[in-house]
């Protein structure tokens, strides 16, 4: 990769950041232009990302030195295929949620804060993109902090008392975990003297401070477990995700936690590389057990929820367990499953939250039993929901099926049949909570007058992103062969 193209990844990250900085000025000139301008910045980012298609080798990575400083001192972006793939996922889903926000956010947020919402939104997307491709572990921390702070603020953006409380709960769990990440980085630095991931990977093998390394790894994993809301550290998630404005829930649930879960993979495969002394095996085993518990616990809790968004949030808890089980299988198939699950979980979960947003926008409905007969009134939303739910359950031919296939296969291959069974049980639970909603929507007659006068479906500005996402679940299932081969290669090279 040469010429101007090699600057594209960093441009993808900086564009939304520049956009975030410009938004207050644009708002000063003309407030109505803010949503469009921010969408433009993200769209430009996505376009740059599309220009990179085929340029990133599946079995290797492209380094980019910020400011031309040599790696051990300067900050390096390490764009490997997995990172690029996730960057595109982040870009795409963020763009759609952003477009969706325009009509929705007018309702929920006072006028003055709309600009703030978009600024934070752009910062969040930019930091997530940086988060997945950075090759410097301290840079990882910085991006994670931008990501976390903008998430806290976005949960609370409506200023409503429950929202602030949920955001504060999120902060109370998130901030200590951030500090623990810093502690972990400090521990690593103290025994290796470097912050570059590739360099770290090399020096960890040579370093003699075994206990310190084990502690560093455990601290990092524990910290990211909080960020990724992996059972039993998920306590902040259901409140925060269900109370945030729906496009924000889509971002938080679809991307933020999944990307944080992926960070565990980054630490494991790019830094600790799983080889020396079986450094990480006991932590990984504990992590896998937590993941399995998350799959079951999240699924069961989701079944008992009465609040629609709460149910989707618990489903996220369950799906984070899937990703962890894939990562800890330590084989290319499991890792591919996990990465592909970040994609299909992101797309499907974002779609579910946007559907929930449509109901809230039109009818203020939050409870599942209020959805009876919704099909008659809002058919487009309901069909989009059904398609996305299909993928959440993991039924063929949706994207969820493909990732489930690789997750289960990876676990069987790693000789972890019990975990494979847990994954399957998880999808049974998913079927239960999804079909319950589908049943209410499509096969239950609505109560007389429950829907009042004829309610129109959501405006097309909201329906379009919802439908693009729900069709994407099918697209990435049917056309998974476009990605799986490269992902498998990338995963094999990571291991």
């Amino acid at each position: 990769m040469s010429g101007g193209i090699r600057h594209l990844p960093i441009l993808m990250i900086t564009l939304p950041m520049v956009g975030a900085a410009l938004m207050p000025f644009i708002s000063y000139v003309r407030r109505g232009a803010v949503p469009w301008a921010s969408a433009l910045f993200l769209a430009a980012s996505s376009a740059l990302g599309l220009a990179l298609i085929g340029k990133i080798p599946p079995d290797g990575s492209v380094g980019y030195r910020l400011g031309g400083w040599e790696p051990p001192f300067g900050i390096e972006l390490m764009v490997d295929f997995t990172g690029y793939f996730l960057m595109m996922v982040v870009c795409g889903i963020s763009l759609l949620s952003l477009v969706y926000s325009r009509p929705y956010i007018m309702r929920e947020v006072e006028g003055g804060k709309i600009t703030a919402y978009y600024v934070l939104f752009l910062l969040l997307s930019a930091s997530m993109m940086g988060f997945v491709v950075t090759g410097d572990i301290f840079n990882l921390f910085v991006f994670m902090e931008i990501l976390s702070i903008s998430s806290y603020a976005l949960v609370a953006v409506t200023g409503n008392r429950n929202a602030v409380r949920a955001a504060f709960k999120y902060l109370l769990m998130g901030a200590p975990s951030s500090i623990m990440v810093l502690l972990g980085i400090g521990l690593l630095y103290s025994v290796t003297g470097t912050l570059n991931m590739a360099d770290l990977a090399m020096r960890i093998g040579e370093s003699g401070y075994r206990e310190v390394l084990i502690a560093a790894y455990a601290v990092l994993v524990l910290a990211f477990m909080v960020k990724a809301a992996i059972f039993p550290l998920h306590l902040w998630l259901p409140d925060a995700h269900s109370i945030a404005p729906s496009p924000m829930s889509a971002m938080l649930s679809g991307l933020v936690v999944a990307v944080s879960a992926f960070a565990i993979g980054r630490i494991t495969f790019s830094v600790f590389t799983t080889r020396p002394w079986g450094l990480v095996s006991s932590t990984l085993e504990a992590l896998a057990a937590a993941g399995a518990a998350a799959v079951l616990f999240g699924g069961i809790m989701a079944i008992y929820q009465r609040d629609f968004k709460m149910m989707i949030a618990y489903s996220t808890v369950s799906h984070m367990g899937y990703i962890v089980l894939g990562l800890t299988a330590l084989n290319p198939e499991g890792l591919t499953g996990a990465v592909y699950h970040v994609l299909d979980h992101g797309v499907a979960k974002a779609c579910l939250f946007l559907c929930a947003g449509n109901f809230i926008y039109r009818k203020g409905i939050r409870r599942i039993d209020q959805l009876k007969g919704a099909w008659q009134e809002m058919p487009w939303t309901c069909f989009a929901f059904a398609l996305a739910a299909w993928s959440v359950i993991g039924l063929p031919p949706s994207a969820g099926f493909i990732s489930k296939w690789y997750l289960v296969y990876g676990n069987v291959k790693a000789d972890r049949v019990p975990y494979a069974v847990v994954l399957l049980l998880g999808s049974i639970l998913a079927a239960v909570y999804c079909f319950r909603v589908i049943y209410y929507m499509f096969f239950q007659p609505g109560e007389e007058g429950a829907w009042g006068d004829k309610v129109a479906d959501a405006p097309s500005g909201m329906l379009a992103p919802t439908w693009i996402l729900s069709l994407a679940t099918l697209f990435f299932g049917v056309f998974s062969y476009l990605f799986i081969d490269s992902l498998l290669k990338a995963a094999a090279s990571l291991l």
Binding site: L395, P396, P397, F401, I402, K404, W405, V408, Y409, V412, K413, A420, V421, L424, L425, S427, I428, A431, V432, F435, F443, V478, F479, S480, Y481, I484, D485, L488
Partner: protein
């Protein structure tokens, strides 16, 4: 690309053609109901036509192959027409055409939903029949499973909802078990799941315990659809709840998708030899025997006609399973042929039950006194099929039973003959009273009143009567001219020739 196969788009056509109905429904959801329904029928008729046109090629020994997508090496979504798959596709396309025709007149509300899902299921089932590997089969199978849910709960009564719920519970559990089986098979089968060999797995590539796990998870997964006891729970609820054409398809084809899956597992993935070596065939056979007898006993106690027929289906599908697990040439032949034979008979019986329901509103057998005089054609067709079910010659039922009996002698296990005879007896015990009530009892017969006059006027609905009569005729005709090309024997014998050369 399978050996000797022709790369051709032909297998894709029958999968896509049913979508004509869907397009018709989507394009004109409210206008011109008759035109729309006839377009739906045209979709299924065209599908059948295309399948029929493939017959000469298939009888010539040709196989067709079409790749939809390849996910990674060895794991691809592709269509492949071999004799066995073609045989199933032929049966189901024919049944589907008749059921669609029948539904035009039968379904009286929410046409769009019913016909849309009817078409979808048809498409997915043909996809099942033409799957090249278990991966593709599973994809289509699961879509078909959930696509048939709206058919079952179509009436939207409390009973239908409950049946639908039960169906979903069974389907989801079975799908999960199956998913595990396929992954295990993929892992221990060397990363391939293809159907084109007669025995993919072997003891060299996988341990005995692994093979046993795979085999029984497969059987459990497909056994739910094939209603092997004790996995049959959803069947007796779903059939009476669903509209009659849907129950005809449920019994005639969808249950068979499970049996067909077991065929693929036994013939293509494991191979008869490996199954024998593992010594698992008799375990399945025992379950099949239990199902055959118990289902008939349960059927005896049912008063609801469709429920009785549903129990009968449970028993009959286990004939197929029993035939497959006999490990003898005639047994396999009988099993494979019974797939089509039973579809003909049971579909006709359910369609008759539908006619009775529409014309007289009667569901229970005890209310059907003298119904043979009010609906003579229907009840004659019903009687023909019921007699065929008992194995009376000349009929398809007789052929199946004959072959199965001969198969058990070949396998050296005459005990199966006893089971078959007991089952025939029980069949007689639950079918004959229906015929007796219909023709030899009437209102006031105990007081010596003369039987009522035959009344042909009520059966004026050709759309419903056509399929019923055609099926009843075929039950006899196929049972007499067994070897006509295109009839089950011509295809099934080719399949069995591969397995027992």
């Amino acid at each position: 690309m399978p050996e000797g196969a022709t790369r051709s788009v032909v297998p894709l056509l029958p999968v896509l053609l049913p979508w004509i109905s869907l397009v018709a429904i989507l394009l004109m959801p409210k206008k011109a109901p008759r035109v729309r329904l006839w377009l739906c029928f045209a979709g299924s008729a065209l599908t059948f036509l295309v399948v029929i046109l493939m017959l000469p090629g298939v009888l010539d020994g040709k196989t067709y192959y079409f790749k939809l997508a390849s996910i990674v090496e060895g794991l691809e979504i592709s269509l492949y027409v071999d004799t066995l798959g073609y045989y199933f596709a032929l049966v189901l396309a024919f049944m589907w055409m008749l059921a669609t025709l029948y539904s035009i007149s039968y379904i009286d509300h929410k046409h769009n939903r019913f016909f849309a899902f009817l078409a979808l299921c048809c498409s997915f089932l043909i996809g099942c029949a033409f799957s090249r590997n278990m991966f593709t089969y599973f994809i289509f199978y699961e879509m078909m499973t959930f696509g048939s849910y709206p058919l079952i709960i179509h009436e939207e009564t409390t009973m239908a909802r409950r049946a639908g719920y039960k169906y979903l519970v069974y389907a989801i559990a079975a799908g999960t078990v199956l998913f595990f089986a396929i992954i295990a098979n993929y892992f221990w089968g060397g990363g391939v799941l293809d159907f084109e060999r007669w025995g993919l797995l072997s003891l060299e590539t996988a341990s005995r315990a692994a093979l046993l796990t795979i085999f029984f998870t497969y059987i459990a997964g497909f056994g739910v659809k094939a209603a092997i006891m004790p996995l049959h729970g959803w069947v007796p609820d779903a059939h009476p709840a669903a509209p009659s054409p849907a129950s005809a398809l449920l019994s005639g084809v969808i249950l068979k998708a499970g049996a067909f899956g077991i065929m693929r597992v036994i013939f293509n993935l494991f191979g008869v030899d490996l199954m024998k070596e593992l010594g698992v065939h008799w375990i399945v056979a025992v379950f099949a025997c239990i199902t055959i007898v118990m289902a008939s006993v349960f059927a005896l106690t049912q008063d609801n006609l469709k429920r009785r027929l549903a129990y009968s289906s449970i028993g009959q599908v286990s004939y197929i399973i029993l035939g497959l697990t006999m490990v003898s040439r005639d047994g396999a032949l009988g099993g494979v042929m019974h797939l089509a034979h039973h579809a003909l008979m049971k579909a006709c019986l359910f369609l008759c039950a539908g006619v009775i329901l529409v014309k007289t509103g009667k569901k229970n057998i005890s209310e059907m006194r003298g119904i043979g005089y009010r609906l003579p054609v229907t009840m004659i067709c019903f009687s023909v099929c019921a007699l065929a079910m008992m194995g009376t010659p000349p009929s398809v039922g007789f052929i199946s039973k004959w072959l199965l009996g001969s198969g058990s002698m070949q396998a050296g296990l005459p005990v199966y003959v006893v089971i078959l005879l007991v089952s025939s007896l029980l069949n007689a015990a639950y079918f004959l009273p229906i015929i007796y009530t219909a023709f030899f009892r009437w209102e006031g017969d105990e007081e010596g009143a003369h039987h009522p006059k035959l009344d042909f006027s009520t059966e004026n609905d050709q759309l419903m009567m056509g399929p019923v009569v055609l099926l009843a005729l075929l039950v006899v005709v196929v049972g007499i001219w067994v070897t006509v090309p295109g009839f089950p024997y011509s295809l099934a014998s080719r399949v069995v020739d591969f397995i027992f050369p």
